[in-house]
Symmetry: none
C-alpha cells in the first residue's frame, strides 16, 4: 500500500531539514536530533518516517541530486546550460557543496554511489548531445571543481564556454 499523503509530506520536510543540516555542518555533523528539532518533532519520531539514519541519508542524496538534475527537464543549448549552471551555483552554493560531499561519500557508500551515478548519467547524456565527445568530462570536472569556490563560478564557466567555442 502506498504511504499516506500526510506521511509523504512529513518525509519531505524531514529530508529538507536534514539537507540543511548537512549544508551547515557536513555529513559529519548530521544529527537526527537536530533534524527533528528543525521540524518541531521529537527525535525518536524521525524513526517513524525513516527506519534508520542511513535511510534519511538516502533521502538527502535523492533530494540533493534532484535539485541539481531533474530528469526530463528541458536543457537548452550549451550556452544556456552553462549559464544556468553558473547562476545555480552562485544562487545556491550550499547545494553544490552538498553535492560534492555526496561525491566523496559515494566513494565509500555503494547506496549513495548508485543514486549519484544514476542522476549524473542524465546530465552526462545531455552534455554528450551538446559538446564534443572528449569534452563531456571536462565540463563535468569544471562544474564540480568550481562548486568548491562558488564565487568564481560565473567567471570560470564563462572562460570554459569561450574555450569550447574556440575549439569547435
Amino acid at each position: 500500500m502506498a504511504r499516506s499523503q500526510r506521511t509523504e509530506e512529513r518525509r519531505r520536510e524531514l529530508v529538507k531539514a536534514a539537507f540543511d543540516c548537512v549544508a551547515e555542518k557536513g555529513f559529519e555533523g548530521l544529527r537526527l536530533r537536530d533534524v527533528a528539532a528543525r521540524v518541531g518533532l521529537d527525535h525518536s519520531t524521525v524513526h517513524h518516517y525513516f527506519p534508520g539514519k542511513q535511510d534519511l541519508v538516502t533521502g538527502i542524496v535523492d533530494y540533493a541530486t534532484q535539485q541539481f538534475w531533474t530528469p526530463g527537464a528541458p536543457v537548452g543549448d550549451l550556452d544556456d546550460h552553462l549559464g544556468m549552471l553558473a547562476r545555480l551555483i552562485s544562487e545556491r552554493p550550499a547545494l553544490f557543496l552538498v553535492l560534492r560531499e555526496l561525491d566523496l561519500r559515494a566513494t565509500r557508500d555503494a547506496e549513495v554511489r548508485a543514486i549519484v551515478e544514476s542522476r549524473e548519467r542524465g546530465w552526462r547524456d545531455a552534455l554528450a548531445a551538446r559538446v564534443q565527445p572528449g569534452h563531456v568530462e571536462l565540463v563535468i570536472a569544471v562544474v564540480k571543481g568550481v562548486s568548491l569556490t562558488p564565487g568564481l563560478a560565473g567567471q570560470v564557466l564563462s572562460q570554459l564556454r569561450t574555450l569550447l567555442k574556440g575549439s569547435a
Copy 2:
C-alpha cells in the same frame, strides 16, 4: 627547546596513520583509536603527541597539502605541470580525495581554511606565471573536479591542455 627527534618521528607516524584513516573513511570516520592502533600504540598515548583531536587534524591538513604542493619545489612549464598533476592524481587518488574533503571542511573550519588557502596560494602563483590570467581558476577547477573521478584525470587534463594551447 625544539621537540626531540624521536617525538617528531612519532608525530609524523601518527599524522600519516591519521591521513590513511581519513583516506579510507573520511574525516567523518576518523577515530583516535584507529589511528593509535595503526601505529601500535594505546589510544591514550596519542594525546601525548597531540593534545586533542583537532591538533591531529591540523597535522593531517598540513601533511596532505604538503604532499600536493611543496613550497619551493620546481614546477616546469604548463605541459609538465598538467602532466605531473595527471600522473599524481592517477597514482595517488586517495590524496586528492582527501584534499577535496579538506576543501569542504575548510568551509566550516577556520584553522583548516587558513592552511589550505596558504598552500593553495603557492600553487595559484605558479599557475599565474604559466597561463593567461583568466585561466588560473579554470585550471584549478578542473584539477579539483577531476579529483573526484581520478580515473579520468589523464584524459581530462589532456583536453584542457589542448584547449588552453589553442587559445594562446
Copy 3:
C-alpha cells in the same frame, strides 16, 4: 509546558541518590555512574534528566540547602531554634557535612555560591530577629563549625545558648 510528573519524580530520585553519594565520598568522589546505579538506571540515562554533571550538582545544592532551610517554615524562639539545630545535626550529620562541603565549593563556583547564599539569607534573617545584631554571625559560625564534629552539637549549642542568655 512544565516537566511531567514522572520526570520530576525521577529527577528527585537522582538528586537524592547524588546527595547520598556526596555524603559518602564527597563531591570529589561524585560519579554519574554511581548515581545511576543507585537508582537502577544506565549511566547514560542520567543525561536524559540532567544535561551535564553540573546540572546534577546544582540539584544537589538545591536539595541540601532546602533540607536545612525551607523558606517559610516556622522557626520558634532562639531556644527552640538552637535545640532544633542540635537535634538535626545529631540526627542527620551527613546533611551538615554536605552543607559544609557546599560552603567550600561555593568559594570556587559562582552558581553554587548563588544558591547557598540565597538560602543562607533566609536563615540569617530569622536569626536577626532572635539575637542581638552582633551575635548573628557568631551563631552561624558555631553551627557551621560544629557540623564538622556532629557528636558535640548538643553540648556546644547548649553552651552557646547559655552564653547568649547571660549577655541579654
Copy 4:
C-alpha cells in the same frame, strides 16, 4: 639512611605547591601535573619524591596543620590567642579553607584523620588551660565555622571573647 638535604628541600617545595593548588581548586582539583609545573618539574618526577598521590596529600595535611598549630609554640592568654587567630584567619584565609577541607576529608580518610586529630589535640590542650572546660569545643567550633567566612573572623571572635569573659 636519612634523606639528603636536597631531597628534603624539593619535597617541601612540592608540598607547598600542592597546598597552593588545593587552596585554589580544592582537593577535587589537585593534579600532580599542576603541582609539578609550579615547581618547574616534569610530572613524573614528582614520583621520585612522593611514591603516590596519597603521599603528597599526607604532606599537604602535615604542612597545613603545622601552619596552624606548631607544637611547642608559645600561646599567651585567651585574649592573645583569639586575637592571633582572628589575625591569622584574616591574613591567610586560604589556609583556613584548606584546614576545613581537611576536616571533611578526615571524615573519609583515616590517614588524614590521624594527623588532623593529633595536631588538633595540641590546640585543644592549650585551650583547656585557658577557658572553662565546657567552652573548649565552643571556641573550636567558632574558629572552624568562621573559617568559611574569613571576612567576619575579627568581629565574630571579638564577640566570642566578650561572651566568654562575661561568663567567667
